[in-house]
């Protein structure tokens, strides 16, 4: 089968013929229809994120059609449309046992962890447990948007126990930030305020249905958010940057009893310094505020997301996707780095 193979760090991927992976008894052979290109993939190619032994096939955001099933597979049959969850959890450790498989003690990721090759390839072998049926109403590209970008945003909104009619602000309007907006709309937010420093990102995010946008380079976002919420602050703030300054701004933007969701995963060291002596006292203690971290996504969220997208409660039409053939994968990686698209997607 054809695959884009990472052979040398910092070098373009090489498209070549590789043997079809072997199908274990609990596995499904998925004919890959589409696969998203992730920032994580770029970090692996550039060597920022350790990959282990090379050559290796990356790619963890796949959707496709069941080509063949292992002997013990009971839930899938040939021809079915499917979406993969790349997170391999054990199902047995303490965290898995209470439904937090995002923190599984032996967490591995298809297409990221070295022993489990990914789906920048015509076929992928995926454990049955990691597949979900993709309803006919949900396109393959929408499937990629679910397992690549909606999943962490949806997890964040869900973890915040977001209630209909609540107000929210989102710091950072990149791909996951805009997905957070879509999830918030689906959960019934009454007001969504977006904050970024990039004019282009702000302009793009407006299409997603923001009530207000704030360029935090031009005005103090905390002050503006308080004005927009009758002096109180929002019910829930989402921090999708992973930066000291925006984490503080997000906390300061919430009302008394408000919640701040830290969704941003920085690739550098972060210190959360409440600058002035009474910063912590006023913004956390007196407000009885919460800071809640959301990381990744959990298994039980996939059926929820699929149903909500199927019912059009979450509508991806404002997203900008670019579909490319496998042959253009290296250009795709470049475009992903430039951040012009919600997702660049390889199609087979």
């Amino acid at each position: 089968m054809k695959a884009a193979v990472l052979k040398t760090l910092k070098e373009p991927l090489v498209i070549e013929d590789v043997p079809l992976p072997t199908l274990g008894p609990k596995n499904v052979l998925m004919k890959v229809k589409q696969c998203g290109i992730c920032i994580t993939d770029i970090k692996m190619v550039s060597g920022v994120r350790p990959t282990g032994n090379l050559p290796f096939i990356i790619g963890h955001e796949g959707v496709g059609i069941v080509e063949d099933v292992g002997k013990e597979v009971t839930h899938f049959k040939t021809g079915e449309r499917v979406l993969m969850d790349p997170l391999l959890s054990c199902g047995m450790c303490l965290n898995c046992s209470f439904g937090r498989d995002n923190m599984c003690e032996s967490r591995r990721l298809i297409g990221i962890t070295n022993e489990t090759p990914g789906v920048y390839a015509e076929y992928g072998v995926i454990p049955e447990r990691n597949l979900y049926k993709l309803p006919d109403e949900v396109s393959f590209s929408d499937g990629v948007l679910i397992n690549s970008l909606l999943s962490p945003a949806f997890h964040g909104v869900k973890r915040m126990d977001f209630k209909a009619s609540e107000t929210a602000c989102v710091y950072g309007l990149g791909s996951i930030g805009t997905m957070t907006i879509l999830a918030l709309k689906a959960f019934g937010a009454s007001q969504i305020i977006g904050v970024d420093i990039n004019e282009q990102a702000l302009k793009n995010a407006e299409k997603f249905g923001l009530d207000y946008v704030i360029n935090s380079k031009k005005e103090d976002p905390v002050k503006r958010i308080r004005e927009l919420t009758g002096g109180k602050g929002v019910d829930v703030a989402f921090e999708v940057v992973g930066n000291h300054e925006t984490i503080l701004q997000a906390i300061y933007s919430t009302r008394h009893g408000g919640r701040t969701c830290i969704l941003g995963v920085p690739f550098y060291h972060v210190v959360i310094d409440f600058k002035d002596a009474l910063g912590f006292f006023h913004e956390l203690s007196e407000k009885e505020a919460s800071i809640i971290i959301a990381w990744g996504y959990t298994r039980q969220e996939f059926p929820m997301m699929l149903n909500m997208v199927k019912k059009r409660l979450i509508d991806f039409s404002p997203c900008r996707t670019k579909v490319i053939p496998l042959e253009e994968v290296n250009e795709g990686i470049k475009w992903t780095g430039e951040g012009k698209y919600t997702r660049v997607i390889i199609e087979f």
Binding site: L94, N95, F98, R100, N102, M103, R159, G230, K232, R255, H256, G257, I262, V265, P266, H269, V270, V271, I272, D273, F274, K275, D276, A277, L278, G279, F280, F281, L284, S285, E286, K287, E288, A289, S290, I291, I292, I293, A294, W295
Partner: protein
Amino acid sequence: MKAAILKKLGTLLTIEEIPKPQVGENDVLMKVKAAGICIADMYTLRGERPIKLPHILGHEASGVVAEVGSKVKKFKTGDRILGNAIITCNECYYCKNDLEQVCNKHTIVGTDGGTQGAFAEYYKLPEGNVYHLPEEIPFDQATVITSPLASAYHGVRIADIHRGDTVVVYGGGAIGYHAMLGALSYDSVRVFMIDTVDKKLELARKAGAAEVMNPSREDPVKRILGLTEGRGADVVIEAVGLNQTINQAILSVGKAGRLVFMGAPFGKISFEFENYRQSFLFKEIKMTSSITNRKDEMPQLIELVRTKKIDLSRSVSLKLPFEKINEGLEIVKNDVGNLIRVVLEFD
């Protein structure tokens, strides 16, 4: 009636005869039997909390009903009662949205300027701030319920403790100690208490702590990880409010853990870890601060104390007659003997 009056900051209180408070139609007048001395009183005496002088302090009182206003329905003369001194406005956004603990305009009767406190023979509160005190609970213990236990228990409820959880408490003072008692009211919970004062650790041990740790002798984070198979605690309650303990608290909590900040830090706080992702992000923790308390928590709290699910028998470390109030304030101010609570008694 006799009352202890603060006339000038930096001077002793003077006990004088003054008229009894006037009872409004919704008020209950308490004949005070016992009143606790709180750290908050120290802030006032040090001039750190604005106040109008002369002032009568005291917000942790229990006693019997002396008189009721014409519209009071639930109480009659002679009833044993305790008071919760926090009056919420019932009108602000937060009061209307079931968040009375963060009411914008709350007053604490006895602490805030213009109110009259419980360091006096009689103390007046609105009916909504008064609770029946069961026979099983002595007056001195009842004062502990009104403020330190109420605040601590509010934080314990925020911590969302489950059966079988490991709960770590940083700080064995009045709030931390009572947070520990609150945590122990849940079945099969083990509590580790951390403090730099051995006397406080001894007391915590007697009151049910499974393990105690003195950070001046050992690294509590290391010990906690050792006692939890490397996982960290399910719940951590921080009741000190120092940068170091706040950071240790975050390092002590395990994946999916809950952290409650009960110490009100007046110094600069900075979360800083050797590994931000591993120590913080990837643990997916929830951190919440806890402030004051809520009225809906009082009845269950009184019931927990009545049934001894929360045992306050060690909470009153010293009882003094009301006349010795200045001596009591001095002891609390200088933290002599690391007492949990000093309570004044009226005959």
